[in-house]
Amino acid sequence: MSVQSVLFDAPGPKARARHLGLAVVGGLAILGLLALIVRGLANPDNNQLTADKWKPFFTAEAWTAYFLPGIWATVKAAALAVVISAVVGILLGMGRLSQLAVVRLLCGLFVEFFRSVPVLMMMLFFYFFGLYALGITGSALSLFGVVAGLTFYNSSVIAELIRSGVNSLPKGQREAGLAVGMTPLQTLIAVLLPQAITAMLPSLVSQLVVILKDTALGYIINYPELIRAGQNFASSEGNLIPTFIVLAAIFITINYGLTRVARLLERRLQQSKRGGKTPPADPMLNPALAPQAGALVGDGRL
């Protein structure tokens, strides 16, 4: 690994012995930490690891009545938000690259504003907006709040991804487009955007992870997503901590899968690199991509 070789020289016999010692000490410390956690969970007067706290997960009802609907609600909101914010984000990104200063300014203001407002606040706003201004009621209301909140934030993030993707393309691409007689807009749509979107595909997939995690914020406006479903389940079974552990496992599995897909895409793109330089996909790893004021936290709405 390159990381080690920057920091450490190839180890000699003495260093190898030291590393072994460190491994033993570190291993023991980690085991100690795990033991502490297990002891905390299994303390006699409130044992979380007994069979009857875990048995409910193996009934069909737990999944058909709670977890699967929860997963479905989470995925539904995330999918809607992804599709809408991809479309809006591309339009906003085009606006930020526009020839007209007014359009550039307006799109810039929009993006900067919605990137610096917490998603939770936007969900609250759109929830009450849907109720007050649009007269939406029932279960559609919380879905509207979640999707609208996610969309406004993530379309801003995607707009920034598109913009930095276009900006990192070689200048010749645009010049060539203009030279063959295309208008600036045609050049953008036919030449620049396809390349920028392809290059940014891994970041867009990582953004999916962020969106999926953020649907959990819908809890505050009573959206029946996975965490709320899990809590309902736990309150009927009295096994809150095991439920949280199962919920975490579900989220980690889905998100880890998505992260792997993003990494796979990235590797594919690097292999099929044609001509132009592929911009490094992860803004977290490339400071040059993220010098704008807001949080271009590709992976991290954190």
Partner: protein
Amino acid sequence: MDALRTLLSEYDVLAAFWMTIKLAVLSAIGSLIIGTVVAVCRVSPVAVLQWFGLTYVTLVRNTPLTLIVFFCAFGMSNTLGLTLAPTIIENNFRWGVVALSIYHASFVAEALRSGINTVPQGQAEAARALGLAFMPTLSTIILPQAFRGAIAPLGNTLIALTKNTTVVATIGVAEAAYVMRSMLEFNISLLYAIFIIMAAGFVILTLPVGIFFTYLSRKLTVQR
């Protein structure tokens, strides 16, 4: 306008944002400490520690913050009875800080590691070729460059952390989003004004941080 004035006298918006700032500052310190430990594990030459660092980052990064906050407040505190303070409000606040620290530590660790990754191999080789020992190489050649490379992602993490403090509204800590919700519940006719005020608060909090970190990373970037 009058309605708005009564509203603002009824709800202490400034106190809410002060709570947000307290949460952000304390969690930033906490996540910096945990994140540094995890980053050191990840780049250490010991396989066990590397594995620990990678596992921590993978698990925490893929879990929603809401779930971590709930696990701390409802799981650790309510179910297991591990309280950090005598009163419920203070207890939830402290567990909120713990949850925010645990969650953002994974991003801090990745930021620090990416900073180390920006240092080219040749720097270390040159230092060793000059006869510098391990510690001088680390402290005078590698780490100064690594920290500079980590500034921009650390700044992004801090901004995200500030915004994410709103998640602890779900466990009843009276910060900005919590106050916003109670304001909206009883004064829905002032919807737009309330949103603009609370959103502006966050713009004011995060924009200077963003500008400062951009300035810092431009100024300190190692030109290659």
